[in-house]
Subunit: 342 residues, 2 copies
DNA sequence: CTGGGTAGTGGGAGCGCTCCCAAACTAGCG
DNA sequence: CGCTAGTTTGGGAGCGCTCCCACTACCCAG
């Protein structure tokens, strides 16, 4: 038994028009919310639509109009393993919520190889999406430029440099470093080290800047030996922590630029018999599940990840619509979540 | 400067045909890999495609043919919070990899409200996807049946009951419980408790069954007081653990049906002064990040999550193609990962 | 040499929409 | 009461593809 309509075929716009006793154009206008329709016609069409259970065929729409009602969210897979993974899920959640409200499709694209990257670029060239959301782009990633050259609206999560030309939504990474250090200094820590992310990523450089600003604000002198670069992985955090302890056995606090690295640092601290927070205080970034489950639970700087997803989607939708009310480049605030590690 | 073609317009199949000196039909045949094309024509068309940088317009394809080359992955949002979240990311990863190989789109749909659910059903009715992947369906979820009624190919992750009619890919949850208990018994534990998931979920009942089978296999007598139901959340695990300790202070091991619940149990154990594993051994399920970061690191039963994603996608693609070589209902093995908690 | 294949091909007829132009109506004004 | 200006409407012309039918070559058996 077909749900409705004859022979299982979905009703078409033409059938709606026939039933409402109007022309195709009028039905189309009603569906697309054009103001140039009389109330009488609008009512008749609405009723016909309801009676027939009509749902517009998107393929036909995409072909006739020049839009697809779909947006791609692109995640370079190399990053996916590095970052705390729930990050992406939260971004997705935010994006999805916002797109659902606008009745747009979310197309998820993980790119993990040259081949897939190429395929995706082809895909873009084929005008298959109305816009693109790019997550965790490296400083040397050409993808945003490719997208721009095709003049497809795009919004980044994070930026590649201070003077990012493409629209982006970022969190206040400098502020994150600053507030972490401020907190540590407040608790009387004086020899505060940091474990950074890979310094070819702008986000990592920002957090390091914040760290330095925090030291300055607290009247502490910087010491380059207290800075160790890692790569956002747990193993990297562990190695960096070992190096730091070797170079500066007197350090009494560490600001790790991610929870995952903090977890690695925690291991190294335990291996060398340091207690947290008694001997060394520890602060991370992300406020992820890892932070809550560490022993002791990790003090961490929270980023509004889901919110970033929402905002990204909103900005993108505006770029697509051509109504750029909101600014195209946004930095969202972060917030220190104090637990037992510092 | 346009990338290629005149006036920035993407080249069409018609233009390819003109350039290759053949008809539209022939080009279409080449693109779709029909065998009924001479090598000469094939070569000419291939060259023309390369020269023009032609990429087929999917909307036109979808409209003309009756397929979309897109597959929806549906995640009911209520679950997203409960399950260890990286789970979904791993599923997505597997699905995405497999779909990319088949050059299909992945459409991600989070459903978090009645409204969104309804919208999605409409969407399905509009024949907007070739198939559907459903993750973490509750026993009473009607969605799989809706999909089947629309005769859209579908594959579930997990099943709703023993006699699931829809195609599914599941992991061996009974085996998971069994091997966890076997391990505990092997280490000399005698009073083994379990914290289950919500028993209206088949996965939870399976793990409980496995637990019972494990006890029997080890020659231990079951004791219903050693069974506490929870809901896959940390807080639930904690509460369940407290109840268990109150009822049976003499228990010496716990099998928690998820890592997250194990983490909750861990808290309750610490609160009551129990050491892990000395006083109480603990085993979880999922082998998630949480497990690795617990103190002590949690012994856990690993499910091949990404692999499940891959297999789901593969089965779905076969259902779509109509070539059902592989069985439609698969159960993948699990594996015990021994750490320090048991 | 003929008839009956069989590979290979071209192109008409749509798929269901949006765009847009011209027709049909309305109202307002001199 | 005719004329202009504005509003509302119908429907033709595509969008770029696939499907499929008809047609041409060519081959082989009779």
């Amino acid at each position: 038994m077909a749900v409705n309509g004859r022979q299982g075929g979905r009703p078409t716009l033409e059938e709606v028009a026939a039933r409402a006793g109007v022309g195709r154009g009028t039905v189309s206008r009603v569906i697309n919310g054009s103001p140039r329709v009389s109330d009488r016609a609008k009512a008749a069409v609405s009723r016909a639509i309801a009676e027939l259970g009509y749902v517009p065929n998107r393929a036909a729409r995409a072909l006739a109009g020049a839009r697809t009602d779909a947006v791609a969210l692109v995640i370079p897979e190399t990053e996916a393993r590095l970052f705390a993974e729930p990050y992406f899920l939260d971004i997705i959640r935010g994006v999805s919520a916002e797109l659902a409200d606008a009745d747009k499709q979310l197309l998820l694209t993980l790119i993990r190889s040259r081949k897939e990257r190429q395929r995706f670029e082809q895909y873009l060239a084929a005008q298959r999406v109305d816009g693109v959301l790019l997550v965790s782009v490296h400083a040397d990633d050409p993808l945003p430029d490719v997208v721009r050259e095709l003049s497809i609206p795009a919004v980044l999560n994070g930026r590649r440099s201070e003077s990012e030309p493409v629209a982006y939504v970022d969190s206040d990474n400098v502020g994150a470093g600053r507030s972490a250090v401020a907190h540590l200094a407040e608790r009387g820590r004086r020899r505060i080290a940091t474990i950074t992310g890979p310094l070819d990523m702008y986000v990592a450089r920002c957090r390091l800047d914040g760290y330095r600003q925090g030291l300055a604000a607290a009247g502490l002198v910087g010491d380059e030996r207290l800075v160790a670069a890692a790569d956002f992985t747990e193993e990297g955090g562990r190695r960096a922590m070992r190096d730091l302890l070797e170079r500066c056995p007197d350090l009494d606090a560490v600001f790790a630029a991610s929870d995952v690295m903090a977890a690695g640092a925690r291991v190294a601290l335990r291996e060398t018999g340091r207690r947290v927070p008694d001997d060394v205080a520890l602060v991370g970034v992300d406020d992820s599940a890892v932070a809550r489950h560490m022993d002791p639970p990790l003090t961490s700087v929270r980023q509004p990840i889901e919110e970033m997803g929402r905002v990204m989607a909103r900005v993108l939708l505006q770029e697509i619509a051509g109504t750029e009310a909101e600014p195209r480049q946004l930095v969202l605030p972060t917030e220190l979540v104090v637990r037992d590690s510092a």
